[in-house]
């Protein structure tokens, strides 16, 4: 049975099913990260003292990661724009760039975590590090998940372009919405954890 309303628009919602589906998923993601941000506020306001992030974490590396993630959002939206222009080759270039930038983000994160572990700064060390590892770890998993979906659309999933280019374009936009959300979460995580 074919999936309904992948290309044509439903009259009642004014949207394709995929579009409303990804936004409902992102709404649940907002609540997931919201619960952790609320935990952060509760732990911080309840603590007798709280360290500045830049005294325990590597701000230059986190700034580099911010630049990497913002750049990957641009390449992601350019990948989708390339499909809207009908340029599949350009799409592959930008999508490949997005995946590589995501990989770069995780590599930088690996170096950050390695340095912390080497110094004995573990999640069990104090509440600051516990919430830092929880928030950045969950965010890192989202980066990995987004990369996996993008890699599918760059590789085997791209076959759909030949048979149904509009559906493929819609799918890439939905994948992009998730990727931009991951970028958006980092935009708030960066100052909250590293600079305040």
């Amino acid at each position: 049975m074919d999936i309904p309303y992948t290309v044509e628009i439903r009259r009642d919602t004014g949207l394709t099913n995929g579009k409303i589906g990804i936004w409902l998923f992102l709404a649940s993601e907002v609540m997931l990260f919201g619960a952790l941000f609320a935990s952060y506020i509760l732990i911080r306001t309840g603590a007798p003292s709280w360290p500045r992030g830049d005294t325990m974490l590597d701000v230059p590396l986190a700034t580099l990661n911010t630049i990497i993630l913002i750049s990957s959002s641009v390449t992601m939206v350019m990948a989708w724009a390339s499909l809207m222009r009908g340029r599949f080759g350009t799409f592959r270039m930008y999508m490949g760039g997005t995946i590589l930038l995501g990989f770069g983000f995780l590599i930088v994160k690996y170096f950050e975590y390695s340095a912390h572990f080497h110094e004995g700064a573990l999640p069990s060390t104090n509440n600051f590090l516990a919430i830092y590892y929880t928030l950045t770890g969950l965010h890192g998993l989202h980066v990995f998940g987004g990369m996996a979906v993008n890699a599918y659309f760059w590789g085997p999933g791209a076959k759909l372009w030949k048979t149904n280019p509009v559906w493929f374009t819609n799918r890439v936009e939905h994948s992009g919405l998730f990727w931009h959300f991951v970028d958006l979460v980092w935009i708030f995580l960066f100052p909250t954890l590293y600079l305040l």
């Binding site: 004014g14 995929g18 579009k19 709404a27 919201g34 609320a38 724009a81 819609n170 305040l196």
Partner: protein
């Protein structure tokens, strides 16, 4: 769709088919994406620079959150096309925002005696 010239394209525009008009509109929006990218980079530099002034915590939190909110709004409006979405998505997000604010306010309420928590 008459609003192509002024609002970002979404998959729902793609759903109606790709035309040469769309290609022209996409060119305009690519320029917007580049401008947003530059703005995000500048705001990142602003965030890091301000943090080096070691402002008092309440002021530092306020400034950092204002800059982060501006950056987040740019990403949501232009990269995620929220500036020109359908009403149903705005409704979903309004509901989400209400619950999100409730989540963030909850810790504040629980640490103050004599209001909700006795």
């Amino acid at each position: 769709m008459s609003d192509h010239a002024t609002t970002p394209m979404t998959s729902d525009h793609a759903a109606t088919g790709m035309t040469s008009d769309h290609a022209v509109d996409i060119d305009k929006h690519v320029r917007i994406y580049i401008s947003v990218f530059v703005a995000l980079m500048v705001l990142t530099i602003v965030t890091v620079t301000v943090s080096r002034f070691h402002l008092p915590v309440p002021l530092a939190v306020t400034v950092a959150l204002i800059v982060a909110t501006i950056k987040g709004t740019l990403v949501a409006c232009y990269f995620m096309h929220l500036i020109s979405e359908k009403k149903l998505i705005y409704a979903v997000l309004a509901l989400t925002a209400a619950f999100f604010v409730a989540l963030l306010v909850l810790p504040v309420v629980t640490v103050h005696d004599g209001f909700w928590i006795h």
